[in-house]
Symmetry: D2
Subunit: 316 residues, 4 copies
């Protein structure tokens, strides 16, 4: 399903090399000021251009197709759409025969009986995250309206050396840490609507994410309780440490929400790979052409922030 959420619900659509892609956002409160320029900063952060990111050129100009009137939201579904421009309809048919390792080629071909759109990964493409980023911009505005001055930020906390990997026709992964500050106590629910469940759900929907942890996460699992417990130090519930990552029992505790996501090294690498060719029935070298990021993590920070904002917007 391409919809997610309750009370702030998003539906994404589109493919890498189709006509357009975008997002429909439902249950946006009426009366929030919104214009094209509000999207610019986050879209620019997502866009390619830096060393290590794809040379595909897209201006990524959003069109607000519905849900807006005289510069403010109306309460009706808000649709933001991006026309694809720099598309290439080259021959992708071979990907079904000789699928790229650790890519969706093999599973997509099998699942959809060869009827999937293979161009640039089709609907599996990371380009579909444009809709997430657009929804994240709106979600941040909703959080601002409801919560005052929340602050959502991210940084790459681990990453390989992109330049040296590119020199080898290789790629690197990375870990992004995302924080939400000035969040009140009480958002989230125990069990299936826990902050961790919903944020984790969205993070794992981002192509390339293979791990998610909150607070001390995996490191905390190796500690004793006396080391990992967060002692409360004042009447606001502030804790001396934040090993819980701002969430207890699935519910925000007023301390910063801290989530880290592991992003795998880009599966598309320039180096030939010895992998099975279903047409010939032999393991053969595959050389991947096209335009690819050597490190997805470089562009993923703003997507991760969007996912966190979207998840939180459902609760405010």
């Amino acid at each position: 399903m391409n919809s997610f959420g309750k009370n702030f619900r998003i539906t994404i659509f589109g493919e890498s090399h189709g006509a357009a892609l975008g997002v429909v956002i439902d249950e946006v409160p009426a009366g929030i000021t919104l214009s094209i320029s509000d999207f610019e900063a986050d879209l620019a952060r997502r866009r390619s251009g830096q060393t290590g990111t794809t040379p595909r050129k897209e201006s990524d100009v959003p069109e607000i197709v519905s849900g807006i009137f005289e510069g403010h939201t109306t309460g009706a579904p808000l649709t933001v759409m991006f026309r694809n421009e720099d598309t290439r309809s080259g021959d992708y048919a071979h990907l079904g025969d000789h699928p790229r390792p650790s890519h969706a080629d093999f599973v997509a071909t099998q699942k959809f009986n060869n009827q999937n759109d293979p161009r640039g990964g089709g609907h599996f493409s990371g380009r579909v995250t444009l809709g997430l980023v657009a929804a994240g911009v709106v979600a941040k505005k909703v959080l601002e309206q409801k919560l005052g001055s929340p602050k959502i930020s991210s940084e790459i906390v681990e990453s390989g050396d992109v330049a040296s990997a590119m020199a080898d026709g290789d790629s690197v992964g990375g870990v992004i840490e995302c924080r939400a500050e000035n969040i009140p106590v009480g958002l989230g629910e125990p069990f299936f609507d826990s902050i961790e469940s919903l944020v984790g759900h969205l993070m794992f929907s981002i192509p390339g994410v293979k791990g998610v942890e909150f607070g001390s996460g995996f490191a905390g699992a190796a500690r004793r309780g006396s080391e990992n417990n967060d002692l409360i130090i004042n009447e606001k519930g502030t804790t001396a440490t934040n090993n819980s990552g701002g969430v207890n029992g699935g519910i925000t505790n007023g301390n910063p929400i801290v989530v880290r996501v592991a992003i795998k090294p880009t599966a598309s690498i320039a180096r030939p790979q010895e992998t099975y060719n279903f047409a010939t029935g032999r393991i053969e070298p595959l050389t991947i052409g096209g335009r690819h990021d050597a490190c997805i993590a470089l562009r993923a920070g703003v997507i991760v922030e969007a996912a966190l904002a979207i998840a939180l917007a459902a609760f405010v």
Copy 2:
């Protein structure tokens, strides 16, 4: 929300020291043989008794309240319920004043305006996972009926020394690895219904889980693509390595699904903790009585398996 899933949908209810707790499972196919004895093995694995687990004594006998007729499922909602027996209605009121560090006491009190059930954590209790385990038993049966011979297993891959921690009035965490084998290609969807998203969602709903990773996960994020990519070696899509954890593009690739979850050290420890007392307005030592696991991870394997089975049952 206490419901999760599509096509195999569970609704959990109950509290640690209330009358009963359990689960309603919707969209169970008709005609699956099921009896009380089917639940015994998994319930026994979850139950306390080993060193490091709580001394609370519960027989955990399930009652199949609905959805069964002459020993098989009927297609109607299947309800499995457990009466609480060894309850203690002692004074929990102080937990609102002097909340246990890294517990839900503080957030529950704030969120529900002191109207939550504080006894043993109420609906936040790990005891509510009885419903997950029961649903997991049914989910495994559904998978068997639909897939033939799937195999879901788990093991503790990291854990501290429980005995030495207990000697100090302390607790330890752990990491559980769960695998699903003999799973066909093609389960899952890109984006919000990805295997990682749904499995991650459920894993993070288990109390104490603070991290989830698939395949090489966080370790993979530190690698190069050429090291992390899984080369296909035959016509079934078998890969030489399984750094993807059996999932590409959100969809199963036929290799074992491998997921690891980080479980924090039990927040309830016997050692006094210096934490804020909202009644006195001072940081004061808190000593936690009651019966607690020194290592939740010892009992969590079967719960983690249940979560994986429940997520997969929606797709078959």
Copy 3:
């Protein structure tokens, strides 16, 4: 699916002659006073006993299984359960062979491949509406807490002569009109979350309901606009007439919500019916034994009210 709703979500379970039936209600606000006695009046209205209703004797004593503590709701899922007492496990197997006309026997047998519970209609039984009535009691309490003094009532506005029909071994249908008064302007949404859509959805879930109309409904369709339009007469939005049934554009307009439901004559009648016998391959007289209502509409008013209250509780 046996769940319905958002923000006030119900999950029903159980069968006519199984162990028990009931409802899990999710997202009930914490702090609402609730006890067994609150259910008595509405359960009594639903229970059999009048002329024209089934002689099956059930005390219908609810057990509040979860979600309550010291006489108030806790915010956790509220489960209300009813043990079946006066069950009869007689031979229902023949219903698959010689299905009762206008009953679910034929479709249930086909759909569930003979694995459904045939006893008293199993999960198709009108007895499952006990859960709806229980949820309606809670929904009314939520509406009272949020809206002040809403008033939900119902009356039978059309019905055949029950006594003369019973004398003929026959049954009658009826039309129930249900009203909700003192409802504020603004509940509901255009399109799929319109008041009419959600109320209609729930009304059509009640066994035996075959028609639903709001305001002037079918009669209004035969009028001209100038006759059917509701002119506003004051600053509150009060209208001179209420042909809209309190809803415009899917949203409450502050006037009473008026909905009428058509309930078919009870399908189970004592008179023999000439209908196809799948075992013999011939049309043969079927005589239906057992205990049945001659007029479901006599007991359905409280169920219809419950459906309206449940639908509205999601919006307040």
Copy 4:
């Protein structure tokens, strides 16, 4: 919420005088041939032009924005969009002050605090049903692929005299009967996913629909059981009569599904109406300009068919 459905899920967006409107359809099976020309016939049926329908000129040319590749569906979300052309941005502000009787003006203004899009009814406009019709075209294709030769049709079974009403500056309503033939036994579920519940839900989402009935509906409620029951006459489950409208216990019984919807007379009429003016605080004559249908029912048949097809597509 502007999304509906499970397994064939639609999300509608857009306003009467905004940039565009349309629909995203999720879970469309891959491999269904689809082109722009497939939409022409149903769109033409919906479009204005006949006596009694609005003179607004729209070519209603659909763009398939996503989900299609080389003339077939891909399994990814299918987006169909229509640019608005003949828009008028005239002054609609007065509608908040002097709302049109039986229109959404009053409730929309109140609910959205004057931030709704008032142009031509905004998102409340009947024009938004373009998305439903487009989704209906796809749903019919899905039904054909899965069921063989289903036949969905509709006719106006009751309607006033449009010409004489227009001569008086007035409008008329109507009743549309919609049928689905060649539908197998077993679609639908008891209670909340009953055919009646889901079809009723969608029908009531169509602007102007105020009544829905299946089979003998309201007329059947006035009958005795012996008159209304449908006797089975052969091994296929064919019934001598079809007072059940093809549905028993919420599940299709193989006979034609028959549903009738009551459509109110168009609320916008040319004759002045004496209704409250919130700006002046007086009841004053309101004259409605603009372009309107004198009888919505003339164009609604194809929308009603779409709703039925969409509901059924979720079950096949």
